[in-house]
Subunit: 416 residues, 2 copies
């Protein structure tokens, strides 16, 4: 199969002013990845004839499949057609199907059609035209001597509709896209990005199909394996093999595939082991339980929690003995253990988890910002506790604490 | 003032695969607009040395102020420095401040530093270096014969921090940006975007300096006033005048300026009125208290809460009488009232607030998805309760519930 070098260009000053993000480019990229088409560039240019022309000229030289969104509307600053016609000498005609639609629209709305509305029906004479199922301006496929161009409106709903119903099926046939690209994401927790890459360096360096791309995320790492093959089965086989090699080395940190979250996996394993969870949250303020409750079906395993932000709540609601608070303070393993044990029994769960620490900006009880204790208690009496010194600002410390809680609890429950 | 032709380039294959949208370009564009700098191009290029070089070369020719995000990390596919060095012959050195930070990080985290981490400390010899307040790789300002370049990491949180604290103040001086564009955001809650626009139509239509741009956000609306003037004082005077006109019409919905959040204002007013808050959260799962605890200084007014996700927790921990649960169910005003009253006394706060409802995907007790009850109880005996039917998916319903809680509580406390 030919390797297509694709490029996506958005035309519109509103993007350069930051009024909207270029989510069209993101969405088109995702679609093309599934067809095995590599996108090499995204570009954004404003509603200025000379600059649009120059961006189009560059693209026509360096890419062979070019997607343009925007600049097809009725107003004077919609310049996409004019710019492309200027660099290619293509002639423009009126698309009768579209023109009928526009005229009917104005009749139906009982409004006078202003002349500039005709412009939306303009297409290149030699273009293959895709009618717009949800708007006015149609999409177009047109060729130059060096490249193939697809033009679509910039309104995301119209663009997506045109792509799905018209452009992609057409391209599949026109470009004979018979290679399959399959991707699989492997998710890891409890190992840093640089450590993971270090442990897998040999595999990554010697691997070209599937390719392996590490992606760092808050408190976890993912590896994206992408294989190219003649069919799904072959692609999956290639990915399976590499996955096996990877998991042989770092399998103990693996927790799931693709878009699954650690919270989802935690809910799953709690379900599988018939466990229920209650949390005592001080510095995390409810974030831990909140993350679990965001998973549909969490109600079968989440009892709830106590946000014991004030020391008095630790003492009066969660019965941490006054002596422990006085001797060790609220930010201590001793306090964390009591919190985990007592929230477990108070909420009648099989497992209690607790978070106490210093989110900052100030020290607490002489303990540094970032110091965190997490304890996990099982109704059988099993108790674990860990101490951390997290870095970052208040938000980062709280987020890392919660993520670490999911990680510890996931491992704890898996091994029950 | 010189007219700067700016360009923003993002380096990263993850953008071309559509895994994330280029929100960095959007955000930077917004900032530059405030300084009166015109952005002419956005570009995205993958982690490929030759292509990054060619994009850099084009930018160096056509633009005179170039912002690059991404490709400064520790791994082999982070190529931004190498590409720029190759086209400019600039030499690279190790920034000692950054290197110290990286080494300390690994010592503190008790982890081995892999050699690739040194790369994050690499800077161009003649660069002005901006230390990264929330991450490792620093930002850089560096000049070529034709253009000025700014390099920043691609992680949005790091990029924004660097821009705000380092890059923008530096550029203001370096580029002598002496037309001042001042913006002020007015924040409103409890009024919809279309209603606000309707009430202010006359002012918005007749106003050009400052301009007035409405921005809808989750459960609230903001107006951005932007004035252009010769100096700060004059810009502020123009904004003050328009603000006064606006607040004359819709002042009762106004809650704060700029980046202040309703949570922050709520913490402020609780402090001012010497009140403390406890929350009983069912469908919101801790999200309400979590949002308050994210505000530094929340500890003076937030006692904590009980996440009473399971009905047994409502009954056993928060003492909702069995009869109420049987007669009205957990999703009822009666239950919400008990929860607010009892969490207030259990956690020894002056105000209790409660949330109970149906987040979906399924109905509960025959009540539709989106039905929510919020009650607020004051230790003096005052009690209010409201019923809502929110739309959207599970996440949207939970988010809207929490936002509505902040709004109701803010108004409640203001009027105490």
């Amino acid at each position: 199969m030919r390797e297509w070098k694709a490029e996506i260009i958005a035309v519109g000053t509103e993007l350069l002013l930051g009024q909207i993000a270029n989510t069209n480019a993101q969405w088109i990229s995702q679609q093309l990845a599934d067809y095995g088409i590599h996108v090499y560039y995204h570009g954004v240019v404003g509603d200025n004839l000379e600059r649009v022309k120059s961006v189009f000229e560059d693209a026509n030289k360096r890419s062979d499949l070019i997607f343009v969104t925007g600049g097809l509307g009725p107003t004077d600053d919609d310049l996409t057609r004019e710019a492309f016609a200027a660099i290619t000498n293509k002639t423009i005609k009126e698309d009768t199907v579209t023109m009928d639609k526009i005229e009917q629209y104005f009749v139906k709305a009982n409004r006078q059609m202003t002349p500039n509305n005709r412009k939306q029906a303009h297409v290149f004479e030699d273009a293959y035209v895709f009618q717009n199922p949800v708007g006015m301006a149609p999409g177009m496929y047109v060729e130059t001597t060096t490249a193939r161009w697809i033009f679509m409106p910039g309104v995301p709903r119209e663009m997506k509709s045109l792509m799905t119903e018209g452009v992609l099926p057409y391209l599949k046939q026109q470009l004979q896209l018979n290679t399959v690209i399959k991707s699989r994401m492997l998710r890891f927790i409890g190992i840093g990005e640089s450590q993971l890459e270090h442990d897998l360096k040999q595999i990554i360096d010697h691997q070209s199909n599937p390719t392996i791309a590490p992606l760092a995320q808050e408190g976890e790492v993912a590896l994206r394996l992408s294989a190219k093959a003649a069919n799904d089965q072959e692609a999956n086989r290639l990915i399976d093999e590499t996955e096996k090699e990877i998991l042989n080395r770092v399998g103990q940190y693996f927790y799931g595939y693709d878009e699954v979250s650690i919270q989802q996996q935690l809910v799953n394993v709690l379900n599988a082991k018939s466990q229920s969870i209650a949390a005592a949250e001080s510095l995390t303020g409810g974030k831990f339980v909140e993350g679990l409750v965001s998973i549909p079906g969490a109600s079968s395993v989440v009892q709830g929690g106590v946000v014991c932000y004030a020391p008095s709540v630790k003492q009066n609601v969660l019965n941490v003995p006054k002596e422990i608070l006085e001797q060790f303070g609220t930010v201590s393993q001793e306090c964390a253990n009591e919190l985990a044990r007592n929230v477990c029994s108070l909420l009648n769960a099989t497992i209690g988890i607790s978070f106490t620490g210093v989110a900052g900006p100030d020290k607490v009880e002489g303990k540094d910002v970032g110091r965190v204790h997490i304890s996990i208690f099982h109704a059988s009496g099993k108790l674990i506790s860990e101490k951390f010194d997290f870095q970052g600002d208040r938000e980062a410390i709280r987020t890392r604490t919660v993520k670490k809680g999911y990680e510890l609890l996931y491992t704890f429950v898996k091994n029950l």
